[in-house]
């Protein structure tokens, strides 16, 4: 995909996150990039390590929340910060991967995202572009 396209929207206490893309998968990948960009400068992250996982989810909106939360969990478990994301949907099965490296002392420290929430959760196609959004708890 082209460079990920994400944006943020207002929420009183936390952060509204939106990923955009030509396909549903791309919008999810962009949302993941937007989430990790809250934690560090993605340009400084080396692509050294990859984590792969899959999950089943029939509801596309819940799938967005599960995708983001699994990424947070996998990254935390490995002590990693991730910068590049890939997701492929095969019916109700979603296969994802994330590339990055272990946190280095010179990585910029942003704010830790604790979890993706169901608040303002929406996945929809608008004018040929997919938009995948929810509030993340920080």
């Amino acid at each position: 995909m082209d460079s990920p396209s994400y944006s943020y929207f207002e929420h009183g206490a936390d952060i509204g996150l939106a990923g955009h893309g030509a396909t549903l998968d791309e919008a999810f990948e962009s949302a993941a990039a937007g989430m990790f960009a809250i934690m560090t400068d993605l340009a400084s992250v080396r692509r050294e390590q990859i984590v792969r996982f899959e999950f089943e989810e029939a509801d596309v909106e819940l799938a967005l929340v599960r995708w983001l939360n699994l990424l947070l969990a996998m990254a935390r478990e490995q002590g990693m910060v991730c910068a590049e994301f890939r997701l492929d949907r095969d019916g109700v099965v979603w296969r994802g991967s994330a590339t990055g490296e272990v946190w280095r002392s010179d990585h910029e420290r942003g704010v830790e995202v604790k979890g993706a929430t169901l608040t303002m959760l929406r996945v929809e196609q608008r004018g040929g572009e997919w938009d995948a959004r929810c509030v993340v708890d920080v």
């Binding site: 943020y8 929207f9 207002e10 929420h11 009183g12 206490a13 936390d14 952060i15 934690m39 560090t40 819940l62 929340v65 599960r66 939360n69 947070l72 969990a73 935390r76 478990e77 002590g79 910060v81 946190w103 990585h107 910029e108 420290r109 942003g110 704010v111 830790e112 604790k114 979890g115 993706a116 929430t117 169901l118 608040t119 959760l121 509030v135 708890d137 920080v138």
Partner: protein, 477 residues
């Protein structure tokens, strides 16, 4: 908030009357006109959703520091009766299960240690793991972690972190019963590897503070507080484990609600009847996370003491109290003259037991439970004391912090981390952080006026002010 919707009960209490044939329980909002007017309309929308949940007892309530959360508003309080189909809600507890504040009092004054504060700030910043991506020294095996989830702060004391004397001043003596580590996913446990004894990020902090003003001399004496005294507050929670439990159960409870025909006005309210298998499973996992948070703050208390001992060898740090403000707890409350067993959700709200409550340690029994309203960086903090339930009509609950007044996004547009830290240093507040972005998002100006919140908390009868603490050093996550 559009005040036109509200009916004023007195200067600090308001109700949201039902419109037409609206089917819901009552809603009570605490706070001054000024505080409520400045709240987002989303607070009203969210508390209205809470008031539609089954088995609610009394009113769905918001505290004076309420703000727009997810599912429940932050500063939301709601009690449910299991015998009347009452529910347990993951969204009503929050992601950072049992996030709270451990407050320590010292035997030294600001005058005695003022020249050593910069050295202390650097040492605390070096020794206390804080911020995104930072890990602690403690790495537990899965079996050891299960013991933490069962034992809480008692486990930590048993393993050399702090002393047994601390436990009398931690809610539930540092360990909640009915924790079920088996209900906690492997992923949650794996996420906690490396996170025991860490502060975390966002609004979490470790502050060195000075008692600036005493409001209630008798309660201050009971809490052993005096002007000029150095205090330490540690604000953090159950870290990755709690977040993952919140995540896991948010989805499973949302599905359970659908299956059981509970209409959710907002999916984030994900809940199940307390007496259902799904509800019981979440309760077991949530209690495990509460113990994780209590152990975490106990370990951080120990690390804090070790660091202080190097820089200020004459200091002794005793636990004043440890309060959690993201929980659901089983408590007895008097409702319409009858004692009832209720599950009280406090999402960004503090328990505030009044004088004479049997759960309080003997030292505080006459004064009431210490309640901590945490500020952040420049805003200062308050210690209050719980009131009897004849005055506190919110199931013994009170405010938990200043509460955000501005989104993180808006704060980032208004402040630069480096400038903010310099401004606070000029005011005598030393900030240590790895995250300049985090500092800007947490700018004191992005929060409500903590003085107004504490005053409203007192005037609404929720708790009474005992002391104001001024920050001197703040290690931010």
């Amino acid at each position: 908030m559009d005040m036109g919707w509200l009916r004023q009960i007195d200067a600090y209490r308001w109700a949201l009357p039902k419109v037409g044939g609206e089917q819901r329980h009552d809603i009570a909002l605490y706070g001054s006109r000024e505080l409520l007017a400045s709240m987002d309309d989303k607070v009203l929308e969210q508390i209205t959703n809470v008031a539609q949940l089954p088995g609610l007892v009394g009113a769905a309530m918001t505290m004076p520091d309420a703000h727009w959360g997810y599912g429940f508003p932050i500063g939301g309080v709601a009690a449910f009766d299991p015998e009347q189909g009452g529910i347990i809600s993951a969204g009503g507890v929050g992601f950072d299960i049992s996030c709270g504040i451990r407050c320590l009092r010292s035997n030294v004054t600001l005058d005695a240690i003022a020249p050593r504060l910069p050295q202390l700030a650097d040492a605390l910043f070096r020794d206390i793991p804080a911020g995104v991506g930072e890990e602690g020294e403690i790495k537990l095996s899965p079996a050891e972690l299960d013991q933490v989830l069962l034992g809480g702060a008692q486990w930590a004391v048993g393993h050399g972190y702090g002393s047994a004397a601390d436990l009398a001043y931690v809610e539930e003596h540092g360990c909640v019963r009915d924790a079920v580590p088996g209900n906690v996913s492997e992923l949650s446990k794996q996420r906690q590897r490396g996170e025991m004894g860490t502060l975390g990020s966002g609004n979490h902090y470790l502050e060195v503070q000075v008692v600036d003003t005493i409001y209630d001399a008798a309660a201050a004496q009971a809490f052993c507080l005096r002007e000029g005294q150095i205090m330490v507050s540690i604000h953090c929670g159950s870290r990755g484990l709690g977040h993952q439990i919140g995540t896991d159960y948010l989805v499973s409870l949302a599905k359970a609600a659908q299956r059981l025909g509970i209409r959710l006005p907002d999916r984030e309210l994900a809940c199940a009847p307390i007496k259902s298998p799904e509800g019981q499973q979440y309760i077991g996992a949530m209690n495990a996370a509460i113990n994780c948070a209590l152990a975490n703050r106990q370990i951080l208390t120990h690390l804090t003491r070790e660091t202080f001992a190097h820089v200020v060898p004459e200091i002794a740090l005793e636990t004043l109290f440890d309060v959690s403000h993201n929980t659901c707890k089983v408590e007895h409350h008097l409702v319409d003259g009858k004692q009832r067993l209720l599950y009280v959700h406090r999402k960004g709200a503090t328990r505030a037991f009044g004088p004479g409550h049997p759960a309080l340690p003997a030292l505080y029994r006459a004064a009431g439970q210490p309640v901590i309203i945490g500020g952040s960086m420049g805003t200062g903090s308050y210690i209050l004391a719980g009131n009897p339930e004849s005055q506190n009509h919110a199931f013994a609950s009170a405010s938990h912090g200043a509460g955000r007044a501005m989104s993180r996004h808006a704060a980032l547009r208004q402040w630069r981390g480096r400038e903010l830290i310099a401004e606070l240093a000029a005011k005598g507040i030393l900030i240590r952080t790895r995250s300049l972005r985090g500092a800007a998002e947490e700018a004191p100006g992005a929060y409500k006026d903590v003085d107004l919140v504490a005053e409203a908390t007192e005037r609404a009868g929720l708790a009474r002010r005992v002391a104001f603490l001024r920050p001197k050093v703040c290690v931010k996550g």
